[in-house]
């Protein structure tokens, strides 16, 4: 068990492991997306008020969920890398950032498209949107800081600190914006109560959330592989790999 755990810190081992995992993740992602999209866009019922526009939910909600998840993962793995000086943790943290930024952008954009027919406006300075916009800025800041340093180790450690500070700040930002102004609906899915959403919609939504999750892991593995190759380009095993292919 522990040897397996320690192997996670070795870029070479992780590269080979990711290579093995990747086809499976790709397949699962494709299948889940196929099921989720057909279920969500064709089979699940229309909303009695919003009609077909409610189907934007099947992209919007998973993207919004994922953007938070990715940030937490980015900050925690950055923190692990910072404290225990593990190269792999920094690689994961750095690979998370662009995916997170894109997903946050997607959540904001689909939110706007959804808002236009239902609220009559593309953008409103309400609590959720504003805090997601700030989340997007935090991602941008992370990437900008990381690319500003010439030395990669310094860049890794500095941006890990920023990610951690941002992680502490996210709840504060969230609640400050929440109390400031609100139009967005509250959470519909909760663990403790019976969901206030149609069961078919819920099933489709959950499928899409899992699909997005797998999509994220697929892209993450791909990015991690590329990042490892770039960082270890002078090592023997990468050289051998390049000669073989």
């Amino acid at each position: 068990m522990w040897t397996w755990f320690f192997q996670l810190a070795s870029p070479k081992w992780v590269y080979q492991f990711a290579d093995k995992l990747l086809p499976w993740f790709k397949a699962v992602t494709a299948i889940l997306f196929a099921i989720g999209l057909v279920y969500g866009l064709l089979i699940s019922p229309m909303d009695y008020q919003q009609g077909n526009t409610v189907r934007i939910m099947y992209v919007h909600v998973p993207a919004a969920y994922l953007s938070m998840f990715v940030y937490v993962l980015m900050a925690i793995s950055g923190g692990i890398g910072f404290i225990w000086r593990i190269k792999m943790a920094h690689i994961v943290s750095v690979s998370c950032a662009p995916i997170g930024a894109i997903v946050t952008m997607l959540a904001l954009f689909t939110g706007g498209i959804w808002g236009l027919p239902t609220w009559g406006t593309f953008w409103q300075w309400d609590a959720r949107m504003t805090s997601y916009l700030i989340l997007f800025f935090l991602y941008l800041g992370f990437m900008a800081l990381h690319s500003a340093f010439d030395d990669r180790k310094t860049a890794d450690r500095a941006s890990a600190i920023l990610a951690l500070v941002g992680l502490v700040n996210i709840p504060i930002i969230h609640f400050s914006v929440e109390w400031w102004n609100s139009l967005h609906q509250g959470a519909t899915i909760s663990k403790f109560e019976k969901p206030s959403i149609d069961i078919d919609m819920l099933k489709a939504l959950l499928t899409m959330i899992v699909a997005f999750q797998f999509y994220f892991f697929t892209v993450l593995l791909q990015r991690v592989k590329a990042e490892i190759l770039q960082r270890e380009k002078l090592s023997n095993w990468v050289r051998k790999l390049a000669i073989e292919s």
């Binding site: 800041g141 900008a144 500003a148 340093f149 310094t154 450690r157 500095a158 600190i161 400050s176």
Partner: protein, 221 residues
């Protein structure tokens, strides 16, 4: 404690040596706020309406401008490195610099803000609350800003990057600061916002020295 005091004294004397530099943020504050009546409207009622937001945003930006003066020269001349080598902890340095920064930049802003308020046709009561909210809010801006400053110390064009890093973190302070003044101007209870500003201050004093010290160590290695 005496160590902290002497560190603060050192920071202030270093900044005051270059006589004019500490005036810049204050001048920036006055000039930026005076642009708004020219750009938006000279109508007194509307000015009173937008004044809290303008005063707060201008205060944020001028403190942001002032951060550089406390760190960059010290870093480039090696003073910061010497301090760290002599056994002063990074957290102490960050606290001292933030306190000095507030005394030299933040406090003058707090004192000048009522004059801006009068020129924006704010009621005397609202004006006092604006001053009070700046008094509680600007120190946390100094502390939060110091984290970003420490992260960007060694960078060639850290200035623009600094803005990108810390402005999102300033947002809670801005929201509660401006909304305290806004609430006071329409005669609603504002003590909640002030209490949260105080909580944010305590929190930033708690977090910033350690995050800043860790960042400083990275920049100096």
């Amino acid at each position: 404690m005496s160590l902290l005091l002497s560190l603060v004294k050192r920071e202030i004397s270093v900044v005051l040596k270059s006589r004019s530099e500490f005036i810049y943020p204050l001048a920036f504050f006055v000039i930026v706020t005076s642009l708004f009546p020219l750009a938006v409207t000279p109508d007194p009622n509307q000015l009173a309406f937008i004044a809290p937001g303008i005063i707060w945003v201008a205060a944020l930006l001028s403190i942001l401008l002032s951060l550089n003066g406390f760190y960059q020269a010290d870093y480039e001349e090696g003073g910061l490195e010497q301090l760290l080598l002599s056994g002063v902890s990074g957290a102490n340095i960050v606290v001292a610099k933030s306190i000095a920064n507030w005394l030299v930049t933040g406090l003058p802003l707090v004192l000048v803000a009522p004059m801006i308020g009068i020129s924006f046709n704010m009621q005397p009561h609202t004006n006092w609350i604006a001053m009070l909210s700046l008094l509680v809010g600007t120190p946390s801006i100094c502390f939060i800003g110091s984290i970003g400053m420490c992260l960007t110390l060694g960078l060639r064009n850290g200035g623009v990057l600094l803005t990108l890093l810390v402005l999102p973190l300033f947002i809670p302070v801005l929201i509660f600061g401006a909304s305290a003044v806004g609430a006071a101007s329409i005669g609603v209870n504002y003590s909640g916002q002030l209490a949260i500003l105080g909580a944010l201050l305590v929190f930033s004093i708690m977090v910033a020295p350690f995050a800043g010290a860790a960042a400083m160590k990275i920049s100096i290695d």
